[in-house]
């Protein structure tokens, strides 16, 4: 049966990847079943519990969902360069514009032997063999409409495969730029073999127009691997973004995530972490900031499927003007997952009488020897703290900005220094927009 929504949208087209003779059969099959899944079920609606608070109108109202390529215009190039300068200034990086690999903007480095980082479309040795058995296995097309959409439409894949015991000291940066009024489908496959260690940043930028970005990142950590993973999703304007990160952790693997999200017409990130081996650890930190009439959403799901794993979540939100923020954190402790330690905290600061926050910290626990807790709070800036700052001569806007920055930046307490500066600047910029006063830094 084809849903009404799907009929309205027309049919998803086959892309160049489907036509290319180099594309292996299993990829064709995966894409075709994703297409079928999306045609059958269409976009989620607010009657779906997971999408209860999400208004998808900016996306479902689009006439065209097919991926757009890199725009020609000079103005775009200039804008892209400016954003790259501020957000991904130095160091090795892969840059994709509207889902297409941009070799001219990317910076390569020497890699440890066995480690491969590159785009699927780059020339090299049989890139698909790097993805086999992993691509499409972590992000489920059957349960997630937007994962199905991405799987059927992506045009390139950023592949990062860190060899056994390889350690990459400097952060590696993936930058996805969406420009113009087109749709793009960034896709990342991030694999850490046993004992590997890495720091990977993903930055999503919207430049001009009203782009729609639907990203999927699959992360697999083998036994003992450790990853510091950052996702910066900078919305702004009329851009719409739905992104999902799916993480699978092996025995004793350590996964640290930092997400900084800013508002746009809709900016939603889903982060699903599943423990597959005992002794795994994850810490998920995040800050989201929205102002104007923007929307920002952060959804996390931690699946404690095996014993002796720990997860810690710390998310903070700043919401100003008529903006709306949503936090949904689900922790599932499956039967038998004893000695689970799961903690979750979500705090929100409301800076205006018209701002809205919906928070949903859910615990589902089916084992008894566990330590699980969650806390959620929503409130305005503390009057006394504000008064303290005002009494020392700060203007109201500056005082609010300082408080809001301090509030949001608390999530960076455990962030490694190599990426902390960037995260601080990003939060500072967004808080400045939200409060109308510049947040200054000690190093400037």
């Amino acid at each position: 049966m084809i849903s009404e929504a799907a009929q309205r949208r027309g049919t998803l087209q086959l892309g160049a990847l489907d036509a290319s003779p180099a594309t292996p059969e299993w990829v064709r099959e995966l894409r075709s079943s994703a297409r079928t899944r999306f045609h059958e079920h269409g976009f989620p609606t607010r009657r779906d519990e997971d999408w209860k608070y999400t208004d998808l109108a900016p996306i479902t109202g689009r006439s065209e969902l097919g991926p757009g390529g890199r725009p020609d215009g000079r103005p775009f190039e200039a804008a892209i360069n400016v954003r790259l300068e501020t957000l991904a200034p130095s160091g090795p990086r892969l840059v994709f514009v509207n889902g297409e690999f941009a070799a001219d903007l990317s910076v390569a480095i020497d890699l440890p032997s066995g480690t491969r980082i590159g785009a699927l479309s780059q020339d090299g040795i049989d890139p698909w063999s790097l993805t086999e058995g992993q691509l499409g296995t972590l992000a489920p097309i059957d349960r997630k409409a937007f994962v199905a959409l991405n799987t059927s439409q992506f045009t390139d894949v950023a592949i990062l495969r860190f060899a056994r015991n390889a350690a990459l000291t400097s952060p590696f940066h993936l930058v996805f730029v969406s420009a113009g009024a087109v749709a793009s489908y960034p896709r990342v496959l991030l694999i850490l073999e046993e004992g590997a260690e890495a720091t990977v940043l993903e930055t999503y930028l919207a430049v001009g127009g009203s782009p729609f970005t639907n990203a999927v990142t699959e992360v697999s950590l083998a036994a003992g691997a450790a990853l510091q993973h950052c996702t910066f999703a900078v919305g702004g304007g009329d851009s719409a973004a739905i992104g999902a990160t799916h993480v699978a952790l092996g025995r004793d693997a350590r996964y640290r995530s930092l997400q900084v999200l800013s508002g746009s017409a809709i900016n939603r990130r889903d982060l699903d972490v599943a423990f597959h081996g005992e002794g795994g650890e994850c810490s998920l930190d995040g800050a989201y900031i929205a102002s104007g009439s923007q929307k920002v959403e952060s959804h996390t799901f931690v699946d404690h499927a095996v014993p002796r794993c720990s997860s810690h979540e710390f998310y903070k939100g700043v919401v100003a003007d008529q903006a709306a923020a949503v936090f949904s954190g689900r922790v599932l402790v499956r039967p038998g997952a004893q000695k689970t330690d799961a903690a979750q905290t979500n705090k929100n600061l409301l800076l205006s009488g018209s701002a809205t926050v919906d928070t949903k910290p859910h615990l589902e626990i089916l084992a008894d020897d566990v330590k699980c807790s969650h806390g959620a709070a929503v409130g305005p800036p503390d009057d006394e703290t504000l008064f303290y700052l005002l009494s020392r001569g700060l203007g109201r806007a500056a005082a609010t900005a300082l408080l809001a920055y301090g509030f949001a930046a608390e999530v960076l307490a455990d962030t490694p220094l190599s990426i902390r500066g960037m995260a601080e600047r990003l939060i500072g910029d967004e808080v400045s927009v939200a409060t109308g006063a510049t947040v200054s830094f000690r190093d400037e």
């Binding site: 409301l350 205006s352 919906d358 626990i365 008894d368 020897d369 566990v370 807790s373 929503v378 305005p380």
Partner: protein, 483 residues
């Protein structure tokens, strides 16, 4: 250390203490539901036209829902489909007593078996008991003393006859029949229940109480309670339940509506101990209840306290609509699920008025295969400036095959309000147990003690005699599930 399972078998094998069936001739309409059945119910109760019209509207609405998707499916409970045509929607004891002497002696004996001797209670506890036996009130006590104070406390059918203006004004004003599937069904077929009206400035001289008891086989109970506290009044209402043992599941879809006007206070306490089914999860009551209070007036207060130990399935969310400025809503709950019991319970606090406050304290205890879900909503609307909410949900797990779930929803729409939510889930720590054991306390007693301490915050809110009963009830129900 000896395993705390010692003695477990003794308790899990314990038969339901209150399981017996009283044989009283009942006046039943045939099983099944259509407009005629509703007309019969309404006619038997000699109801005015507005009641019949309301019931029929509710029935038509319910039919629409039933065709669309039947019961709501979002709750975390699982049960075989309910055959709504197999339910007898009306049954009443045939002899309608006019005073306590006329009450069927067998019924009185039933109450005695339950530990609710009416006379004794009247004399000793000073509690007015409006005993609901199946669907019709058979004995109402302390009427004189209450009417002296101007308090109206009677069965719902009497209220329809004697105070139709109050019924017409408040019936469905808090839980409209369009509220949900079970509320619609209840509105269409409810047979009786309790009604209470406390006039302006009156402090109700005693705690009001209703004992429910499900009796005749295959008779769904559709109670409806309406309590109206007029300006500046106060009333405390107790509700307690036991039910006889049987094999087929029984549906109970009650509706409770509370209305508090300016400066009025309503305290509603429940101890629920319906038959929960046997060890394999056969039988037991389906308790699908809609309870909601409206703080309609300024500075009014509604407080729900519940201790849920029975029922195969509990599906209930006593809620408060905080409409008046400075009004206060409270929810204190202990829910225990053992064996195959399932509970999906919680509350909704809807803040509409300015400076409204709400407190939620929920304690969930799961043992054996029990599944316990807290589902709550705190919604602060745009106009509810200065609103304040504090929620605390703690779960205790007593076995490795049970489940505890906490699903709070917090929606805040202005910046002058503060909302806090905290939840924790754990089992009884070995340290705590060891501490008790080394002081010579048996594992069973230690667990019972620790759980009682865990629930103290809620028991404190119960009226005295109820608190004692609740603690005892919890002890008995719990010991069967320590593992």
């Amino acid at each position: 250390m000896a395993s705390p399972t010692t003695g477990l078998e003794v308790f899990t094998d314990r038969e339901y203490k209150y399981g017996f069936v009283t044989d009283i001739e009942t006046d039943e309409v045939p099983a099944g539901l259509d407009e005629d059945v509703i007309r019969v119910i309404s006619a038997k109760k000699n109801e005015p036209q507005f009641m019949l019209d309301w019931r029929l509207r509710a029935y038509r609405y319910w039919q629409k829902l039933e065709k669309a998707e039947a019961e709501p499916k979002w709750a975390n409970v699982h049960y075989p489909a309910i055959d709504y045509d197999g339910i007898v929607y009306y049954s009443a004891p045939k002899k309608r007593p006019t005073s306590l002497e006329d009450v069927d002696p067998e019924l009185l004996r039933t109450f005695e078996k339950l530990g609710v001797p009416l006379e004794e209670r009247m004399l000793l506890a000073g509690v007015a008991v409006d005993a609901v036996f199946d669907s019709v009130s058979v004995a109402t006590t302390f009427k004189a003393k209450l009417s002296e104070a101007g308090v109206i406390f009677c069965s719902f059918s009497d209220a329809v006859q004697n105070h139709p203006e109050l019924i017409q004004k408040y019936l469905g004003s808090v839980v409209p029949y369009t509220d949900n599937f079970f509320a619609a069904l209840n509105a269409a077929v409810f047979s009786d229940g309790s009604f209470c009206y406390v006039p302006k400035g009156v402090r109700c001289p005693m705690e009001l109480s209703t004992y429910f008891r499900i009796n005749a086989m295959n008779t769904g109970q559709f109670e409806r309670t309406l309590i109206v506290a007029d300006e500046g009044s106060y009333v405390s209402y107790l509700e307690g339940c036991t039910a006889p043992m049987r094999d087929t599941n029984q549906l109970h879809a009650a509706v409770v509506e509370l209305v508090a006007l300016d400066h009025a206070q309503i305290k509603y306490s429940t101890v629920q101990n319906w038959y929960a089914g046997d060890k394999e999860g056969r039988g037991g009551i389906f308790n699908f209840v809609t309870k909601r209070g409206k703080c309609q007036g300024d500075s009014s207060k509604i407080s729900w306290t519940q201790v849920e130990t029975g029922s195969a399935i509990t599906w209930k969310y006593p809620s408060v609509i905080l409409q008046g400025d400075n009004s206060v809503g409270e929810f204190y709950s202990v829910a225990l699920t053992t064996n195959h019991q399932q509970a999906d319970t919680g509350t909704k606090m809807t803040h509409i008025g300015k400076n409204t406050k709400s407190t939620i304290v929920s304690k969930g205890i799961s043992g054996v295969f029990g599944q316990n879900t807290y589902r709550g909503l705190v919604r602060i609307q745009k106009g509810a400036t200065g609103a304040r909410n504090y929620s605390q949900c703690d779960s205790l797990l007593l076995g490795d095959r049970c489940g505890a779930h906490t699903l709070p929803y917090v929606e805040v729409m202005n910046d002058s309000s503060q909302v806090e939510h905290e939840a924790s889930t754990s089992r009884i720590s070995d340290d705590q147990l060891f501490y008790c054991r080394q002081r010579g306390i048996s594992a069973e007693d230690a667990v019972s003690m620790i759980v009682n301490g865990f629930c103290k915050e809620v028991f404190r809110e119960l009226p005295m005699e109820f608190a004692v009963e609740a603690a005892k009830l919890l002890g008995v129900s719990l010991e069967g599930s320590v593992g």
